[in-house]
């Protein structure tokens, strides 16, 4: 079973910095980092312009379907997807084992530029994910003793549904 994804302030900041830089370097409209199950991890750029939750879920669905196709024809994965629109285009790539990078760009940028910049940024993000994975295995016990959920009561849970 896959372990839970836990992200801390510092890692989050690093990822956001990478996204922000990537967005400037690639001249993109917006950039989203999404986990393969469809939850947004971080974002940068004109994020107010988009329904980010839907975007994350559909992107993950898209990647999952494409992964399924890849396996059917004996490929491990298709590492890049590109959808070309009239004005806006979408570049989707896999980062590490469990994340997806979604870049939305228009004609102020180009596919070549996006591809180039994504490659570099992916390396940096993979390093962060590796660090997260190591931390998860090493210090799982230590981290979980500080988990807010150790203290959850039945009343807390009931309160969620009280309205």
């Amino acid at each position: 079973m896959s372990t839970d994804l836990v992200i801390y302030q510092e890692e989050y900041k690093t990822l956001e910095d990478v996204l922000r830089r990537l967005r400037v370097d690639s001249n993109a409209r917006a950039i989203f980092l999404i986990d393969k199950n469809g939850q947004q991890i971080a974002a940068a750029g004109e994020i107010d312009q988009f329904d980010t939750t839907s975007l994350a879920s559909l992107t993950a669905g898209n990647v999952a379907a494409t992964d399924g196709l890849a396996k059917l024809i004996g490929e491990r994965e298709f590492s890049v997807l590109f959808h070309e629109g009239q004005q806006d285009h979408i570049h989707i790539s896999i980062v590490g084992k469990r994340a997806i990078l979604l870049v939305i760009f228009d004609d102020r940028s180009s596919l070549g530029l996006v591809r180039l910049r994504v490659k570099r940024a992916s390396g940096e993000m993979e390093a962060v994910f590796e660090q997260m994975a190591n931390r998860a295995t090493e210090a799982e016990a230590a981290a979980s003793s500080a988990s807010p959920f150790a203290e959850i009561t039945d009343e807390d849970i009931d309160a969620l549904f009280s309205e």
Binding site: I7, S57, G61, G68, A141, F149, I157
Partner: protein
Amino acid sequence: MTFINYANKEINCKIVYYGPGLGGKTTNLQYIYDKTALESKGKMISLATEADRTLFFDFLPLDLGKVRGFTTRFHLYTVPGQVFYDASRKLILKGVDGVVFVADSQEARMDANVESIRNLEENLEEHGFDLRKIPYALQFNKRDLPGVVPLDQMYRMLNYKREPTFEAVATTGVGVFDTLRAVAKLILKDLRQSATG
């Protein structure tokens, strides 16, 4: 796979509605969507055929409020129930935290219910999950129809591990929130369990 973000103080969980075709999975989500306050829900996405059968999934993000200062968000998905969409069902189970099984109470659908539970068991296994361990709730839907199978009979046939079980009429909302609440609670208790070790 729960996603806990300490930077944003958010926790995200994934609930999948499973069950045979036309059992009422999409109707459950639609009812939840209709009855949830605007500020607590996102857009509902339905990837469906022209005839309104689920083709890939329905998706509904829900904010249930805060636990211990953490915004608790549930992502609800349905699978396509039609047998030949098995590849898609498998994909959607990825990273699931809890499952709701929506059974159709009509006599003619009992075999389909049984087959779908077996299919769920298998597909969970492929992702390394175990139906015996995962947070799980069972719903007997379409109780409004005439001549449905009696409850105790359905229970004997479909209940897997004494999971919380509810009668429902998804079209009018009977039992819909009870079912959701039950599985959400099991998920949060699971989180507590794994946090305390």
